[in-house]
C-alpha cells in the first residue's frame, strides 16, 4: 500500500537522482576530469539513499529518550558545536570564497554548520516535547532552549550568515510550535537585529554581497558578477532549456555552478520545466511531510518532522531566491541537489526520520487492526515512534 512515507522518499530519491545528473553536467569542463568525480557522486547518492532508509526505520522517540551524556542528542550537540568552532581556528578550516566553513577529515570534507543545523532541529524538538507543559513560561520553558539556539546561531553565524539565519528561523518556529509564546520570542528580535548589523559590519564581504544584490550592474566584473551570471543562466533556459549538458554558463562563467548555484544550471539546461520539477518535488515533500506530522501522535516526532520540513523548504526557497537574484548572495545549498556528499547524506537521513513517523503510525494502525482481529483489547495505545527497529 502506498503510504505518505513512500511518496516522500520517492520525491527525495528523485531529487538525489537529478542531483547526480546535474552535478555531473555542471562539473563539465573543456578537457574534463573523466568519470572519477561522477563515481564519487553516485556513491554519495547511494549512501544518502541508504541513510534515508535507515532513518525511516529508526524509532526516533526511543533513540532520543535517554537523558544526560548517554543521550545521542547531547553527543550530537557537543560534536557539531566543537567542529563548528574548529572551523574558526586558523589552519583547520578550508576557506572557500573568503569564508572558512569547511572541515576536512581524511578524504571527507563537510560543513559543521550542517551538523549544527540538524542538531538544533532535534534539540529544539526534544526540549519542547519534554517541557511541553512549561513552554509558555519564559525562564524555565523558553530561555534554556533559546540560549542553546543563540549559541548555535552565534557559532555558525561567525562564518556563515545564511545558515545561521536559517537555524534561527527554524529553531524559533519549532519553539513556537512547541508552545513558546510569540511575545517572549519578540523580545529577542532587537538584539538579533543588532547582532546581524554588527556581523555585517565586521565581515565586509557581506556588505559587498548586499550591494551586489541592490545593483549588480554597478560592478558586473566584481561583486555583481555572481548574480548577473546566475540570472543569465536562468534567462537562457526558456521553456525546455538548452538541453541536458548543453549549458554554457557552467564553463567558467558561473562560479559555484555545481554547489550553491546549481539551480541556475538546471534552469539553463532544463528550462522552466526543470525548475517546476525541482520545486514540485520540494512541494511534495512539504505537503506529504505535513500530512505525516498531522497523523503523528507523539509530540517529539511532530516537532522533529516540522523542523526537518521547514529546514528543507526554507533552505530551498532561500537558495532559489539567491539564484534568481531576489536576495543577496549567501552560501546556502539547495537541499539534496547541490554537490557536497555529506550534505546529501545528512539531509536524506533527516527526511528518513520524517518518513519513520509514518512507518511508526502504520505499525500502530496495523497493530490495532491485528488486535481487533484477535479480539484482544488494546491495553496501551502505542504512540507514534514506539515501533522498534525493524
Amino acid at each position: 500500500m502506498l503510504r505518505p512515507a513512500h511518496i516522500l522518499m520517492t520525491a527525495a530519491t528523485a531529487l538525489l537522482a537529478l542531483a547526480v545528473v546535474m552535478v555531473w553536467s555542471a562539473r563539465m569542463t573543456v578537457g574534463g576530469e573523466g568519470l572519477a568525480f561522477v563515481q564519487r557522486q553516485v556513491i554519495y547518492a547511494v549512501l544518502a539513499f541508504v541513510a534515508m532508509l535507515v532513518g525511516s526505520r529508526l524509532n526516533v522517540r526511543e533513540v532520543f529518550r535517554a537523558r544526560g551524556f548517554s543521550s545521542p542528542l547531547i553527543i550530537m550537540l557537543l560534536v557539531s558545536f566543537s567542529l563548528a568552532v574548529l572551523t574558526l581556528v586558523p589552519g583547520m578550516g578550508r576557506s572557500v570564497n573568503g569564508a572558512s566553513r569547511w572541515l576536512e577529515i581524511g578524504p571527507v570534507s563537510f560543513q559543521p554548520s550542517e551538523l549544527v543545523k540538524w542538531s538544533i532541529v532535534i534539540a529544539m524538538a526534544w526540549w519542547c516535547a519534554r517541557r511541553g507543559g512549561v513552554m509558555h513560561r519564559f525562564a524555565d520553558g523558553l530561555l534554556p532552549a533559546l540560549l542553546l539556539l543563540a549559541l548555535a546561531v552565534g557559532v555558525v553565524g561567525a562564518e556563515d550568515l545564511g545558515t545561521s539565519a536559517l537555524i534561527a528561523a527554524v529553531g524559533a518556529l519549532v519553539l513556537i510550535a512547541g508552545g513558546a509564546r510569540l511575545r517572549h520570542l519578540m523580545i529577542f528580535v532587537p538584539p538579533a537585529v543588532a547582532a546581524l548589523v554588527a556581523m555585517i559590519i565586521m565581515a565586509p564581504y557581506r556588505v559587498q554581497r548586499v550591494l551586489a544584490f541592490l545593483n549588480p550592474w554597478d560592478d558586473p566584473q566584481g561583486v555583481g558578477y555572481h548574480p548577473i551570471q546566475s540570472m543569465l543562466a536562468v534567462t537562457q533556459g526558456g521553456l525546455f532549456g538548452r538541453g541536458l549538458g548543453n549549458g554554457v554558463q557552467k564553463f567558467g562563467y558561473l562560479p559555484e555552478d555545481s554547489t550553491d548555484f546549481i539551480f541556475a544550471i538546471i534552469c539553463e539546461e532544463m528550462g522552466l520545466v526543470g525548475a517546476l520539477m525541482v520545486i514540485g518535488a520540494y512541494l511534495v515533500i512539504l505537503w506529504i511531510g505535513l500530512g505525516i506530522v498531522r497523523q503523528c501522535q507523539d509530540a517529539f516526532g511532530r516537532l522533529l518532522g516540522l523542523g526537518v520540513l521547514l529546514t528543507v523548504g526554507l533552505q530551498a526557497a532561500l537558495n532559489i531566491a539567491v539564484v534568481t537574484a531576489m536576495v543577496p548572495t549567501k552560501g546556502i545549498a539547495l537541499p539534496l541537489i547541490s554537490s557536497g556528499g555529506t550534505g546529501w547524506i545528512v539531509t536524506a537521513f533527516a527526511l528518513g526520520l520524517v518518513a519513520s513517523l509514518d512507518n511508526a503510525y502504520a505499525l500502530h494502525i496495523d497493530g490495532r487492526e491485528a488486535s481487533t482481529r484477535t479480539m484482544t483489547p488494546a491495553t496501551t495505545a502505542p504512540m507514534c515512534g514506539e515501533a522498534e527497529l525493524i
Binding site: 521547514l310 534568481t324 531576489m326
Partner: protein, 580 residues
C-alpha cells in the same frame, strides 16, 4: 494566525504544531510560486544588459576557402594550394634554456647558432619564426619531439609545382592569398571561393566548446580551372625560346602555340622567365606577360594577311606578273621610295609573298586603296582586343582611316604604321591555318570548336598556306624546314621605330616567325618573336626566330601524334636528331 496561538496546553500541542506547520508550508509554497514567477519573468523579459553577456560567450571564426587549382589541359597542376607549416618558438614556454637551441638544432636539423641568434634578435617576442615552410620530414620529427617552446602554425600557401613554367601567364598570389598578377589575379573571384563562418560557444577561458547549430556557414572552395595550356608544349616552347634568345643575345622573346581551330592557347612563353614561387625576387617588369601587354611593329610577318585578302578581292591574280624592279628600289606614285632586300625583277604574285617583296606588296596595296586595306586590317582583328580575356591585354594600334596618309597604302601592306601584340598576330595567322575562320583565342580548355568568323574563303586560305609553304621550302623561311612535317610560315624582320626622333633604329630589330603545320592538315600555329637580337650574331626573322619556331612545332606535333609526311628513313634520322 500565529497571533491566535494560545499558550500550549498538553492536549492542544498537536493542533499548535499543525497550525504552525500549515502556516509555514503554505507560506513556503507561496514563496515557491513567487520564485517560479521570477524565473518566468527572467526568461520572458530579461534585462537587456544580459544579452550583451550572452554575446561575449560566443566567438566567430572565418573558415578559409581553399583556393582553386589551375591545371593544364591534361590536369597537370600548374598552381595549387596546400597547407604549409611555419615553425616558431615561444621563449616563454621553453623549459631548459641551456640545451634548448642544441636540442632544436639536433632534432630538427637547424644550426643551433642560427636559432640562438634569431632568438636574441627579438627579445620578449613570443612568436619567433625559424622556418617559414617546414618540410614533411621535419614536420614529422616535430610531431614526435613534443618539445615545449616549439610550435607550428598552419597556413595556406600557393605552390607552382612547375616553377617558372608559364610564370607570367599564371601570375602569383600574395601572402594574404589574393591573386596579385596574371591569371591568379584575373580569375581571383572564381579561384578564391567564399570563406565560411562559424559561431561557437566558448568557455570563460576562451576555449571553444561547440559550434552553434544554426551558425555554421560552410566555406565554398574555389573552383579549379582547366587551362588550355599543355604543360609539355609550354615547356618545349620555353626551352626553344630561351635557346634562341640566348643564342642571338636578344633582350626578350615570346613564343605562342595555338590550336588554330579552337583558339586554345597551348603555350605562351616569355623570356626572361620568372618563377611565381619566388616572385618577390624577380624584377617586376619580368612579371609581365608581354605576349599580350606589349606591341611591336610587325613588318613582313604582316604580309600574308594583306596578300591573302588582296587575292580574295582579286586585286592581284596569283599568276599575274608584277615588276618589283631589278634594282630593288621602287618609287610610289606619291613619290615614296621603297626597297627590297634585293631586286627580284618581274615575279608572279605568289612569289611576292615567297620572296617577301616590299615593292610587290606596295604596288598591290595601292591598287586596293586605303579603305579596303583598313577593312582587311580590322577584319583580321588588329587594333582590337582578341577576346582572350588575358589580364593586361591591349588592343594594339591601327590608326583610324581619316588619319591615314598617302604613305599608308604602301606601308600597311608590309606591316608598318601599325602595332600588334604577339597574340593578335598569331591569332590572325590561325585564320589562314583554319581555312579562313577567325576564332577568339582562349586560355581555357574547350572541347568544341567555337563558331569562328569567316575572313577568308577556304580556297584562298588553302592557297595562302601553299604559298607560305613554299616560303618555308624555297623562300625566306628555309631555316624553318622540318624533316618530319611540311610547314607554312612567314618571317618578319622589323626595325624598331624610334619614337624620339622619328623613323627607325638601324640596328634594333624584332625578329619574328609565324608558322603552322602540318601543311596538309594544320593542327598548330606557332608564333615566335625575338626582341632586339644582337645584329652581329643575326637579326633576320628567318635566321633568329624561324629555327626555334620550327623545332617547337615539330616537337609539339610529334608529341600530339600528328601523322608525319616524312619517308621512313627520314623518320629514323629525325628520331636520332630528337635524341640529341
Amino acid at each position: 494566525m500565529l497571533a491566535d496561538l494560545k499558550p500550549a496546553q498538553p492536549t492542544a500541542d498537536a493542533r499548535r504544531v499543525l497550525k504552525v506547520g500549515r502556516f509555514m508550508v503554505i507560506g513556503i509554497s507561496v514563496l515557491f510560486a513567487v520564485l517560479l514567477g521570477r524565473i518566468v519573468q527572467l526568461q520572458l523579459a530579461p534585462d537587456p544588459r544580459l544579452e550583451t553577456r550572452v554575446d561575449s560567450q560566443h566567438s566567430s571564426a572565418t573558415l578559409s576557402a581553399r583556393r582553386g587549382a589551375l591545371v593544364d589541359r591534361h590536369g597537370r597542376m600548374l598552381a595549387v594550394s596546400r597547407m604549409a607549416y611555419r615553425l616558431f618558438l615561444d621563449p616563454k614556454m621553453i623549459g631548459d634554456r641551456n640545451t634548448f637551441s642544441e636540442r632544436v638544432g639536433y632534432e630538427l636539423g637547424y644550426d643551433p647558432v642560427d636559432v640562438e641568434m634569431i632568438m636574441s634578435q627579438k627579445p620578449g617576442n613570443r612568436y619567433i619564426s625559424i622556418d617559414q615552410r617546414l618540410s614533411e620530414d621535419k614536420l614529422a620529427r616535430f610531431r614526435e619531439l613534443k618539445l615545449p617552446g616549439v610550435y607550428v602554425d598552419p597556413y595556406v600557401v600557393r605552390d607552382y609545382p612547375y616553377g617558372q613554367l608559364a610564370g607570367q601567364l599564371i601570375g602569383f598570389v600574395g601572402r594574404e592569398g589574393k591573386g596579385l598578377d596574371g591569371l591568379e589575379r584575373e580569375l581571383d573571384p572564381v579561384l578564391s571561393g567564399a570563406p565560411g563562418r562559424i559561431v561557437y560557444a566558448r568557455d570563460a577561458g576562451g576555449r571553444a566548446l561547440w559550434i552553434e547549430a544554426d551558425n555554421y556557414q560552410p566555406q565554398h572552395d574555389g573552383r579549379p580551372l582547366r587551362l588550355s595550356i599543355d604543360a609539355m608544349i609550354q615547356s618545349i616552347a620555353e626551352r626553344e625560346l630561351a635557346g634562341a634568345v640566348e643564342q642571338y643575345q636578344a633582350k626578350a622573346g615570346q613564343m605562342i602555340v595555338m590550336n588554330p581551330w579552337t583558339g586554345e592557347i597551348l603555350a605562351m612563353a616569355n623570356y626572361p622567365a620568372f618563377d611565381p614561387n619566388d616572385f618577390s625576387r624577380a624584377k617586376p617588369e619580368d612579371w609581365r606577360n608581354r605576349a599580350v601587354t606589349d606591341v611591336f611593329e610587325p613588318g613582313s610577318i604582316f604580309k600574308p594577311f594583306i596578300w591573302s585578302m588582296a587575292t580574295q578581292l582579286q586585286a592581284a591574280n596569283p599568276s599575274e606578273m608584277i615588276d618589283t624592279t631589278t634594282s630593288g628600289v621602287w618609287r610610289s606614285s606619291k613619290g615614296r621610295s621603297l626597297r627590297d632586300a634585293r631586286g627580284h625583277g618581274r615575279i608572279d604574285w605568289d612569289h611576292v609573298l615567297i620572296e617577301s617583296s616590299n615593292i610587290g606588296m606596295a604596288i598591290v596595296g595601292q591598287r586596293l586603296g586605303a579603305e579596303k586595306l583598313h577593312n582587311i586590317v580590322r577584319g583580321f582583328g588588329f587594333g582590337q582586343m582578341t577576346g582572350s580575356g588575358l589580364p593586361g591585354e591591349i588592343s594594339g594600334v591601327v590608326h583610324p582611316l581619316p588619319k591615314w596618309t598617302h604613305y599608308s597604302v604602301t606601308s600597311i601592306p608590309m606591316g608598318q604604321e601599325l602595332s600588334v601584340t604577339p597574340l593578335q598576330i598569331t591569332r590572325a595567322f590561325c585564320a589562314i591555318a583554319a581555312d579562313g575562320m577567325l576564332v577568339h583565342p582562349t586560355i581555357y580548355a574547350t572541347d568544341h570548336r567555337p563558331e569562328g568568323q569567316r575572313v577568308l574563303t577556304a580556297n584562298i586560305a588553302a592557297h595562302t598556306r601553299e604559298v607560305l609553304g613554299r616560303a618555308v621550302s624555297e623562300g625566306t623561311g628555309r631555316k624553318a624546314q622540318s624533316d618530319l612535317y611540311s610547314l607554312f610560315g612567314k618571317t618578319g624582320t622589323a626595325q624598331l621605330p624610334n619614337f624620339v626622333s622619328g623613323g627607325y633604329y638601324q640596328d634594333r630589330y624584332v625578329s619574328s616567325f609565324i608558322c603552322g603545320g602540318p601543311l596538309e592538315a594544320p593542327q598548330l600555329v606557332v608564333g615566335c618573336f625575338i626582341h632586339e637580337p644582337d645584329p652581329s650574331v643575326g637579326h633576320y626573322g628567318g635566321t633568329v626566330a624561324a629555327p626555334a619556331a620550327s623545332r617547337v612545332i615539330e616537337q609539339s606535333l610529334v608529341y600530339l601524334g600528328a601523322p608525319t609526311s616524312a619517308a621512313p628513313e627520314q623518320l629514323v634520322q629525325a628520331a636520332i636528331h630528337l635524341d640529341d
